[in-house]
Symmetry: C2
Subunit: 303 residues, 2 copies
Amino acid sequence: MLDVCLLGTAGMMPLPNRWLTSCLCRFNGVGLLIDCGEGTQVALRAAGFSPNPISIICLTHYHADHVSGLPGLLLSMGNSDRTEPVTIVGPKGLERVVNSLRVIAPELPFEIIFHEISSEDESFELMGYNIHAFKVNHNVLCYGYSISIPRQGKFDVEKAKELGLPVQMWNPLQKGNEVEFEGTVYTPDMVMGKARKGLKMTYCTDTRPTKSLVEAANTSDLLICEGMYAQEDKIAKAKQNKHMTFYEAAKVARDAKVNELWLTHFSPSMTGHKRYMKAVCDIFPNSYLGEDGKFLELDFSEE
Amino acid sequence: MLDVCLLGTAGMMPLPNRWLTSCLCRFNGVGLLIDCGEGTQVALRAAGFSPNPISIICLTHYHADHVSGLPGLLLSMGNSDRTEPVTIVGPKGLERVVNSLRVIAPELPFEIIFHEISSEDESFELMGYNIHAFKVNHNVLCYGYSISIPRQGKFDVEKAKELGLPVQMWNPLQKGNEVEFEGTVYTPDMVMGKARKGLKMTYCTDTRPTKSLVEAANTSDLLICEGMYAQEDKIAKAKQNKHMTFYEAAKVARDAKVNELWLTHFSPSMTGHKRYMKAVCDIFPNSYLGEDGKFLELDFSEE
């Protein structure tokens, strides 16, 4: 299963009762954090997590509200005696930005591995996560991320028996390894059924609606998407500042056929968020306001 | 009068219920902030202040818990349409550190003026504040700050009359200007009494007890001083990490003959702070635990 916790829901600046937008995923003991604005390490603790199991940090872009908490988080991870490396993923300029911020965190007891996204979109596997980064449309280079956990097909016991494979060879095949038995090489596809539906969550802030987002979010179990403004008269401001309204995010969720939408990255000027949700749900019914610490456990469906 | 607000009381890392140690002073509409760790802009708002009136930021040293909130604060000041310059005061390396952190806040609508402290101690006047920076003893170059508001003597009406000065010339003399009347130059000292007791507050974190601190804090109305540890068995750790215990801070307060002591910069490992205060007050009776948002208005005494 994949745990998802939306640590904060603010855009632009942290507020006394609203942390900056960032998201923690956990799968198989490995933490993956998306964005790390000022105070993210506090939001993490407030939600009941520790920074230490985080091995992957994906940055959407280098505006301060998405990255200014990084040196503090890295130091706190160092203070918890972490020695395993941390992989930081982000757009062009990654090393320069992170190393500039590290002027106040120059010595860490663990290695930082940089993974710079260099094309419009990129997919790669990291510690059990399938990560798909896709370029969106903000006033600086910005990416969204789809995080998927694939699920292999069922092991076909009948087929294994038919092939005459002894039981002790079943487990390596289930784990994706080839085996050799009596001079013949057996590959996993010979005994494994078709891959089953895995888990997928998509996270996207700081963009106008884009085709890349709709395509990347396609059939996600959860879409966490920015809704900087809700007031109808803010559409011009959303366009100018390259952000989205609640309604635009709902249309993305509908077009991407996701299961559930959480709105986040709210403008500090907005109040009374709830009153806009009826109109949002008219577009995409399974829409929810993000809240600091909002948590979901995504489980593989049966079969 | 001089307003003093201790915005946070944590050392090392911000916690869900404890902001990092920093301090806001206000005098005559001008805000002066000492240190700016991660979340200081939130602590500021939580205490009821806005970042915009801050015109001076004094940094004690460049450990992350004292400076990582700077880019976010500067951006929030910019977002409030600030155009007046901000003076940042700090130890050697000031421009390099601030400009590195500004990798995520490259464009601001106001100028930053750098005032680097280059000697063991330095005194200067800035927008009505008399600032005295003094070197302390930490594992990196670190300064404490005494902030004083001087108070001139009383205007001597009898003397002015005796000199035959017309009433419209009294005010410029009171404001420190020379005047000329019937061919004679009159200077303020001719009509002003002896300077009266002003206001003084001293702020010091991240150091072992030092002579420089005791001297700089001498007769302060308020001393805000680190007490990283309270447990008696932490004295070795305090020495090793160049910090102080509650009791060492109380001895500084006693030796400096201050009026009042607030302890701050508590180790994240400490709990039950109150139980140590009896022993602290045995050393210096007017000692208090710092609390996030603790506020004091220092007024000129009568006469």
